[in-house]
């Protein structure tokens, strides 16, 4: 039942070496605190830290002096995307305590294990304290000036020799919106589209899937709105561990409405424990399960025929595909009994409103985009989009992954999903105040300006593949990593080779991250200490599109700096290096000219104002810094369920955090859109329609809505997006003001609602009650995708060889400048399935997040999960003589990969399935790499990374990696 005592002791001893002062062994608390004091003194003894720094570093730990005033500052938790407000108590610049934030309508005072322990992130004595570089395999402390100068020189050298596309700019979902935007802009000014962030590996397929279905790539409703649902299906998600505070809303909804809570998952998760119905499926069979449900729904006429007629295109083609998925075939492929699925389908279709909640179980697949499309189609077929209690409640991962996606930390688009077309560059050029030509000349050539870059899932391939297989001038030679773990991408043994091939590796992060220790690099590797978002001002966008302003709680500790400052200073250093090496390009002046520079860094407010000026397409224009701060100040004035500001308050009628789209400039006072595509509200009140992005008709069938429009619309039918041309045709052009006309005509004369920086087109359209982006149908068939109608495709590595011929993966192809193998790798299943009989899937733990470097360095969290483990079914364990808590080797079918982890024998996983959490790193193939961290920065808990054994497999649309289905073998160690 339990991990054996002797082993528990062994673990403790191991950890004791790592963190002698943590354990209660040999210490009572008084002694402990005394020691903590000495540790602080030790930091002071480092020499160059001024006394105030020592204090700010948290050496004066924890104890508030109640006789003196305590300041309360609000920021947003930096872990998951729920967006919990953190209230910090600060005294003398030291973060001394944390209090519940009752006022926040999102978390209402509560937190999860991570949120309740965030103070430790800022106190963290395991943080990277000053810039360092690797010299002959040894870490050396350097100054910021030296770091900037050396990095800039090396970057300019790579640029001169291999071109701008040989630098990979990896950004972060941990950035604020302003940081993410600035980083994307930085890559644009550097002249490459090789810029990406964690969304690639969490919800890129969601964004692609839902945007291709109904217009925008985001959660349609909100956590709070789930309180209205009568039925919720959670498929491929474990919010109880990944988004714990969201469960407050789910479980309240479940109680309030006696709602059905159905969990469909290969694993009996902590979420499933609270479900009214649990459906166990074989990993990688989501589409057959959805089609199996739709089979019952269509067969029994449970679909919403009126909704489909008015607002959905192409449902008949879905019917044809679904007809193939008889209950027997569904059971054969997925393992779900027909009767159970029928019950689930009936519940979902008839007990409305119903919502579908998904996470990375759906997205991290070779069929990720198709999965998401199938999910969306189920919602459309049952009419469960665009109203209270319905919708695609997509729970995103990191605290600002939505915002970082929105601001284009993506290889395929500029900020706010404008894409990479020339028109997009011209639009942003106008916003940035630089001519198109200025931007164009920064790129290798104009073609590369429009070519999607290399995604983060494949950076190492782009560093090691033969040059002729990579569609750019040279391989990746330098990598700038801002706020990203090195263990979150599959195929780590190959990542090691890729990292070793890089001429320059820069890791800018509060912690060294796995990147610092994973490879055998000995030189040309830099670590830059970046502060957390708690030491920085800025806005972040929660999963529900609400934007929240975080106020700086304490100054950056040690020598760490904000992202803004580092980017600003690096741009300056690049200028100097360019001048020195005789290159004409310059960065700092053009890029930072619009911003207010304070204390040597651009202010978050001034960056947000630029965002507000240019991000019309997603409606990121109304959320001015002033309005966001006002919302934070009046959090208690919002309704818990509707998120609406109460009458008679300064935020009356506004939705909390002004979820985008929030149309027009801030002066329009648009309330934001709590629920996307909600035709029950006026567009000025947060209403909307499906967004026609793919033309107005196809094969003679209209793509515009029929007989459906948002409340108060003067056009009572479907209509295309508004442009100056449409205004003219409607005779509304002259409603533009003289100023608006002057801007439009002065800049070329033809603009759409999304590129008209005068906001005239948008204003006129909304004046007539019309949604600026048009009123279209959602697409059940997305003809621009590899599978216009989602079809089942077996995972690359599957134990079901009998299904391979019938449901093969896609043939080999190319994408994102790289080759993309499909069937040629899948053929290996035939050889490896016998030796690797267990399906391996991976996921989150509540205590840790992402690559885990930050959370595993947090002593309160580290104590709760001290060992990397694999969940194995008692049946599989018994066959292998594996006891609970013992060490085992988990090996994978590629690269002779193997990991040494502890067995957790549990029925959470079914027979033939194993689960590993993905937060661990610091051990690689059985070797402890603790000594490779710079002294004092090693996380408390280290362990093997699951991605050492995960394998090839990419979604064709986004290059999302396959982390949820591969094969493995488990043996006692």
């Amino acid at each position: 039942m339990l991990i054996k005592r002797s082993e528990g002791k062994a673990a403790k001893q191991r950890l004791a070496q790592a963190y002698a002062g943590l354990s209660s062994g040999g210490l009572d608390r008084r002694a402990f605190l005394r020691q903590a004091g000495f540790a602080g003194a030790g930091l002071a003894a480092l020499g160059t830290l001024a006394p105030s720094r020592v204090q700010a570093s948290g050496a004066a730990t924890g104890v508030a002096d109640h006789s003196r005033p305590i300041q309360r500052i609000k920021n947003i938790c930096t872990h998951c995307s729920v967006g919990c407000t953190v209230t910090a108590e600060v005294q003398n610049g030291v973060w001394v305590g944390q209090e519940p934030t009752w006022a926040s309508p999102i978390n209402r005072g509560t937190h999860c294990a991570k949120g309740a322990a965030v103070r430790e992130l800022v106190h963290g004595d395991r943080r990277l304290k000053y810039p360092m570089k690797l010299v002959g395999g040894q870490w050396q402390r350097i100054s910021w000036d030296v770091a900037y100068a050396e990095i800039a020189e090396k970057l300019m050298k790579v640029r001169a020799e291999s071109g701008p596309d040989s630098v990979f700019w990896l950004g972060s979902a941990k950035f604020s919106n302003e940081g993410a935007y600035l980083y994307r802009k930085f890559a644009a000014f550097w002249g490459t589209n090789n810029v990406d962030h964690q969304a690639r590996i969490c919800h890129s397929t969601t964004v692609a899937g839902v945007a291709n279905t109904w217009g925008y790539g985001a959660q349609t409703n909100s956590y709070n709105d789930i309180r209205n649902s009568k039925t919720m299906i959670i498929m491929g998600g474990n919010p109880a561990e990944a988004h714990p505070v969201s469960l407050q809303h789910l479980l309240s909804g479940k109680e309030r409405n006696r709602a059905n809570m159905i969990v469909i998952d290969p694993r009996f998760t902590r979420t499933a424990a609270h479900a009214t119905e649990y459906v166990r499926i074989r990993p990688g069979t989501d589409i057959p399960v959805i089609w199996g449900m739709l089979h019952h729904i269509f067969a029994n006429g449970w679909e919403d025929k009126e909704f489909i007629r008015q607002r959905v295109y192409g449902m008949d083609e879905i019917r044809a595909e679904v007809a193939k998925w008889t209950p027997a075939e569904v059971e054969r492929v997925t393992g779900v009994p027909g009767e159970q699925l029928k019950k689930v389908a009936q519940t979902f279709a008839t007990e409305k409103p119903a919502t579908l909640i998904w996470c990375m179980g759906a997205t991290q697949k070779t069929v990720g985009t198709a999965n998401v499309r199938a999910f969306s189609i189920l919602l459309l077929a049952t009419g469960n989009v665009g109203a209270d209690g319905t919708g695609a409640n997509i729970f995103r991962g990191h605290c600002n992954v939505q915002g970082a996606t929105d601001f284009g930390l993506d290889v395929g688009t500029l900020p706010a999903y404008y894409g990479l077309e020339e028109g997009a560059w011209r639009h942003w050029g106008r916003v940035w105040g630089v001519p198109f030509e200025n931007l164009r000349d920064r790129f290798e050539n104009v073609q590369m300006m429009g070519a999607p870059g290399i995604p983060t899932t494949r950076y190492f391939d782009a560093a090691t593949l033969p040059k002729d297989q990579i569609q750019q001038r040279d391989r990746l030679k330098a990598m700038m990593v801002f706020g990203h773990g090195g263990n979150t991408v599959t195929r780590m043994p190959e990542a090691v080779k890729g990292l070793e091939a890089m001429e320059l590796l820069v890791v800018a992060d509060p912690h060294p991250t796995t990147f610092a220790v994973l490879s055998g690099r000995r030189d040309n590797t830099y670590l830059l200490p970046i502060c957390t978002q708690f030491e920085c001002d800025g806005s972040r966008t929660a999963s529900n599109r609400s934007v929240q302003w975080g106020h700086k709680i304490v100054n950056p500790i040690f020598e760490s700096k904000t992202d803004y400052e580092v980017m600003y200073r690096l741009a300056g250093a690049l200028d100097a290096a360019a001048e020195k090496s005789g290159q004409a390009i310059r960065f700092q002046q053009d890029m930072f000219k619009p911003y207010e520079i304070k204390d040597g860094a651009p202010t978050a407010e001034s960056i947000l104002r630029e965002i507000n000026r240019g991000s019309l397409s997603t409606g990121y224009t109304g959320q001015s810094p002033e309005r966001l701060k006002l919302h934070m100040e009046h959090q208690d004035k919002f309704d818990l369920v509707t998120l609406r500001g109460r009458e008679g308050t300064p935020v009356a009628n506004e939705f909390y955090g002004m979820p985008w789209p929030c149309w027009g400039p801030a002066e329009w006072k648009h309330p934001g859109s709590h629920i996307l595509y909600n035709t029950n509200l006026h567009v000025k009140d947060g209403g909307g329609t499906f967004r026609p992005r793919f033309g107005t008709e196809r094969n003679g069938v209209t793509l515009l809505a029929e007989g459906s429009w948002s409340k108060g619309s003067e056009i009572q039918d479907g209509y295309p997006e508004f442009t100056t041309a449409v205004l003219k045709r409607l005779g509304w052009y002259d409603e533009l003001t003289a100023e608006e006309k002057a801007w439009i005509e002065g800049n070329g004369g033809t603009f759409s609602w999304a590129t008209d920086l005068s906001f005239g087109v948008m204003r006129v359209a909304m004046g007539h009650g019309c949604v600026p982006y048009g009123n279209g149908k959602a697409r059940a068939v997305a003809w621009n995708l590899p599978d216009p109608v989602p079809v089942h495709r077996e995972p690359i590595y599957t134990p079901r060889l009998d299904l391979l011929a019938q449901y093969p993966t896609l043939p080999d192809r190319r994408g994102f400048r790289l080759p993309h193998l499909g069937q040629s790798v899948q053929a290996r299943s035939n050889q490896v399935a016998r030796d690797f009989p267990i399906i391996l899937t991976s996921g989150r733990l509540v205590e840790y997040e992402g690559g885990g470097e930050e959370t595993r360095s947090n002593k309160w969290l580290a104590e709760l999960q001290q060992d990397m483990f694999v969940e194995i079914n008692p049946g599989d364990a018994a066959e292998r003589n594996i006891r609970d808590g013992q060490w085992v080797w988990v090996s994978g079918p590629e690269n002779n990969a193997r990991t040494r982890v502890k067995a957790l024998v549990t029925e959470r996983v079914g027979k033939g399935v194993a689960f590993m959490p993905f937060h661990f790193a610091g051990w690689f193939m059985g070797t402890d790499q603790r000594s490779k961290y710079p002294q004092g920065t090693d996380p408390i808990v280290l362990g093997e990374s699951v991605n050492a054994v995960t394998t090839y497999g990419y979604d064709p649309v986004t290059f999302m990696q396959e982390t949820k289905v591969t094969l493995c073998q488990i043996r006692a160690a």
Binding site: K12, Y19, L22, S23, S24, G25, L27, D28, R29, R30, F32, L33, A36, T61, G62, V63, A64, D65, H66, G97, Q98, P100, R108, G109, T110, H111, C112, A113, K114, G115, A116, A117, R119, E120, A240, E241, P244, V245, L247, Q248, L251, K254, E255, R258, F268, R270, T271, A273, H274, V846, E847, K859, W860, L861, E863, L864, T906, E907, R908, V909
Partner: protein, 198 residues
């Protein structure tokens, strides 16, 4: 005076461990001392439930009954506290406690226990309220500031309730009525010698 109690609504508890880290953060409780913990029963099976457990501040507290030095005392709010200056670390309270609440730092030679540490209901110790000495020995005193225990205040799903027994029982009863079923107020029978009938 109020009669303070804890109530863990196991239909809501998701083992997120916020209560655990909130407690650690609030009181700077070192590794190995777990004033609060979350136990999952029937792990991975139907009927799986997680329950957050700490000192329940029992009526007729067994720890107090067996303490050789009589170091326990009960406040006017019925919070069971102890005086570390008279605790000798004998471990008897751990044997008697139904909930495994008492914790002992390991001090000196051969596994000898140091002075017992346990959940204080965020009510500190015998010293004056919120002085440094109290914080060092017992942690923060939120009760003196008019607040409730941080674990319950920060509980992600509001599963863990703390406050006057009558009030939290009422909240719980309302929930059970809304749900139409109840999973029981864990430990109430044992701690307070009463069941929560709905």
């Amino acid at each position: 005076m109020a009669r303070m109690k804890f109530l863990c609504d196991s239909d809501r508890c998701i083992e997120c461990n916020a209560c655990v880290t909130a407690c650690k953060n609030e009181h700077e409780v070192p590794w190995g001392i777990n004033r609060r913990r979350v136990v999952t029963i029937n792990d991975g099976k139907a009927g799986e439930r997680s329950i957050s457990m700490a000192c329940m501040h029992c009526t007729d507290a067994p720890c107090a009954a067996v303490c050789p030095t009589s170091c326990f005392y009960t406040t006017a709010d019925a919070i069971v506290l102890h005086d570390k200056d008279t605790c000798i670390g004998c471990g008897y309270c751990f044997y008697a406690c139904p909930f495994g609440a008492p914790q002992y730092p390991r001090v000196g030679n051969f596994g000898t226990r140091g002075k017992m540490d346990k959940c204080t209901y965020c009510a500190g110790g015998p010293q004056a309220d919120n002085v440094a000495a109290e914080y060092t020995q017992y942690g923060a005193n939120r009760i003196a500031e008019g607040k409730l225990p941080i674990c319950a205040e920060m509980c992600s799903t509001k599963a863990l309730l703390a406050g006057d027994g009558e009030m939290i029982a009422t909240i719980y009863r309302e929930r059970v009525q809304k749900r139409g079923y109840g999973a029981g107020a864990w430990g109430w029978r044992t701690a307070y010698k009463e069941t929560l009938s709905v």
